[in-house]
Amino acid sequence: MKHLDLRGSSSRSRITRSDGTAALLALAAGLILAAPSPSHAQGANKPLVIARNMDLNSLDPHRSFCDTCQIYNSTVYETLLTLDTSNKLVPLLAANWEASADQTKFTFKLDPKAKFSDGSPVEAKDVKWSWERLKNLKGSAAFLAENITQIDTPNPQTVVVTVAAPNSEFLNIVSAPYMAVVNSKVASANGAMAAADAATKDNAEGWFLQNSPGSGPYVLASYSPNNELRLKRNAQYWRSAPAIEDVVFRQVKDAVAQAQMLESGTADIAMQIDPDTAKTIRSKDVTVQTVPSYNFIYLALSPGAKGNKVKMTKEVREAISLGLNRKEILEFTLGKEGQLISAPIPLGFPGGSGFPEEPYDPAKAKDLLAKSNASNIELDAAFPNLNAYGVDLSLLMQKVQQELSKINVKVNLQPMTFSNWREQVSGNGIPLTAVFYAPDYYGSAQYVEYFGMMPGSPWAKRAGAANDPSVINPREQELLKKALASGGEEAATIYHEIGLEMIKDKVILPLVSPNLILAYNKGVKGVRYSACCNLPVAEISR
């Protein structure tokens, strides 16, 4: 799960009297520089500016884990496969590939033309080194490679991967930007390691802040934390060169500032604008496009949380779910810019569509609570105080508080920082919370592994399975095994069945899936949202 920390500190600048002369000179210089000059009047070489609240935790592809990381990794590095506009796997570094019938062995043939930005060829040893490094660094995205037991490289162009258990989604995992292939020779020479002890011995993270030893269409030009990330075209790129030479990601914290930059022409693209702010964009030079996203916001109930004042049985959880008027919650948080979601598998993912709408029945909710001797209950609700994909969680929780008060459930709101929330949810547990999820790759297994009530899954732990084993749903584990051993439509049907089981658990209560607002200047073409890579920058032109 990726997270955004949108409550960073803001900085202020002011011009003092003593700076006045300098400011005037700077203004004059700015005016001179801003005057149209024939050399770059039409902006053919003008950098593409993306205004973004960058949640980068690292520029090391195997340590990184965030939305912006997905964009960066897929722009300066490449994976063996990627997704096309209809989420179908297409070749990237691998020219072709095949999976064994039991979904445990995957063979990739690398494209012989593929080369890194230093001109050296991309070889099987680089793939093996990169994936072993991802696994052994034990970062947040290491789970993607956890299942890999062996990587063979019979020749420089062939990679054979063996996984511990059948995994029909492995090829989709391969398309995740964290599975980026790095130039192993260059990175190793600068302190990067892939060995089993890489987590403690690898010291290349700092080096990756200035270098990008990949084969992607762009290379890292410079990075200034909390300011900007600058990329330039990879002169050695082995496929069609991208249309735009320089790309600049500018750190812009809030949606309003992003919208203002778009309208003033100082930014070309912004994709973190919330629906209310999007409505205020008046400029005819700005295109505002709304697309359904795969992100969603959910409530979670923890039967095993230490702070529970009553036993949170399945009936109590059911009652809480029945007490939520989801349509009103959607109206209040997103208006028309989002959809309701019933199961924690998003629309558009295998098995993610066709779930029944969750009912709203406050009378039945009260009955259930009365039968459970929980007519007047109090729930402590700690939640990360942030805006996730246009949904202000504080606002959402205030609405939930209003809704649940109608069934005599008193909710005590406790907003906190994301790091405090994470500590609390993984520690004593939180009776009721709200948070968000964005996919790490295109595939439904990640949802079951994360939200399923299976022994060891993150949310089974957070729901207090150790204190209350009744939350475990053994059927979900069985079905997941079956889904991973099958594939295609059959797997999608099984994921749907798991989705129905997760709805019945009443631990994860998905609420809304916000649309993604892509706002960009009219002169910019090729802006789209991708399930694997967020924003495929190399496809953008003017």
Binding site: D276, T280, N385, D392, Q398, Q401, Q414
Partner: protein, 279 residues
């Protein structure tokens, strides 16, 4: 024609200035609102009152917020949180600070030096930053924010009181009391502290506004009041998210402005009234 006798006009005292009256009226207004709002509030501050993000209209003079709550109602209710917090913080800071400052000035020596070094250390931190750090470590909530503000504020009064005590204890009536056999406690509380209150009172009045501002700042960054409390700082924060719906932040912002200005004017007026040097 009868000669008209001209009566001498009574001149208003110098200290009775327009700002003092204006400040007193504004503060009186907010005190009355705080005491009576529950009786005449147009809407429930926590409940849905209309369509969300509605601009000001006859039904909602200051519009509605993102949850459809009436902004004017919430603004008026906000004073029920801001004034008690300010009162609590200022009184606590005055009591703690004056007591420690009084002891430091009266006793002196190692105890006095220790207290004053503690004052120096606390004052060496930027107050807002220190309050933020303490509030963040205690967790969100108005009570915790109040504790954080007291920790930041008491040293000001300790320093002020120590200065006063050092000056007063040299006066002749104190020497006379000592000669008359007054005990140390009686000396401190009856003969010294009773003469030191004027500057403390003036400072406290001026600080009310600053405390209201700091409490709102802490709530603005999420360290003060928790939702859905209609606290001014958190309401301004809601308004910052909905930047173009200006009315959400306007009401609480204007309320903060009036309270801070009111207390500043009142403090200035009190200084003019109580300080003999200004007469």
């Amino acid at each position: 024609m009868a000669a008209s006798a001209t009566l001498p006009r009574r001149k208003a005292p110098d200290w009775l200035t327009t700002p003092l009256l204006a400040g007193a009226l504004v503060i009186l207004f907010w005190i009355v609102v705080a005491a009576t709002i529950n009786l005449w509030a147009p809407y429930d501050p926590l409940a849905l009152a209309g369509r969300r993000l509605q601009p000001p209209s006859m039904a909602h003079w200051l519009g509605t917020d993102a949850l459809g709550r009436d902004v004017l109602t919430r603004t008026l209710y906000g004073v029920q949180y801001s004034l008690p917090v300010a009162l609590g913080v200022v009184i606590s800071a005055v009591v703690i600070g004056s007591l420690l400052g009084g002891i430091a000035g009266f006793v002196g020596g190692f105890i006095g030096a220790a207290i004053m070094r503690l004052v120096d250390i606390t004052l060496s931190f930027p107050p807002v930053l220190l309050a933020m750090a303490v509030a963040a470590s205690l967790g969100p909530g108005l009570t915790n924010a109040g504790i954080a503000m007291v920790l930041v504020w008491w040293p000001v009064y300790a320093r002020l009181m120590r200065g006063q005590v050092l000056e007063v204890r040299e006066r002749e009536h104190v020497e006379a009391a000592i000669a008359g056999g007054a005990g140390r406690t009686r000396l401190l509380f009856t003969h010294i502290l009773s003469l030191c209150w004027t500057p403390v009172l003036i400072n406290a009045t001026m600080d009310f506004g600053q405390v209201v501002l700091l409490a709102a700042s802490l709530s603005f960054i999420g360290l003060g009041a928790t939702p859905p409390t209609p606290e001014w700082g958190s309401m301004v924060a809601d308004g910052a998210i909905h930047f173009y719906q200006w009315w959400i932040a306007f009401g609480p912002g204007f309320a903060i402005l009036t309270v801070v200005l009111g207390f500043n004017f009142l403090g200035d007026g009190l200084r003019d009234m109580l300080d003999p040097r200004t007469h």
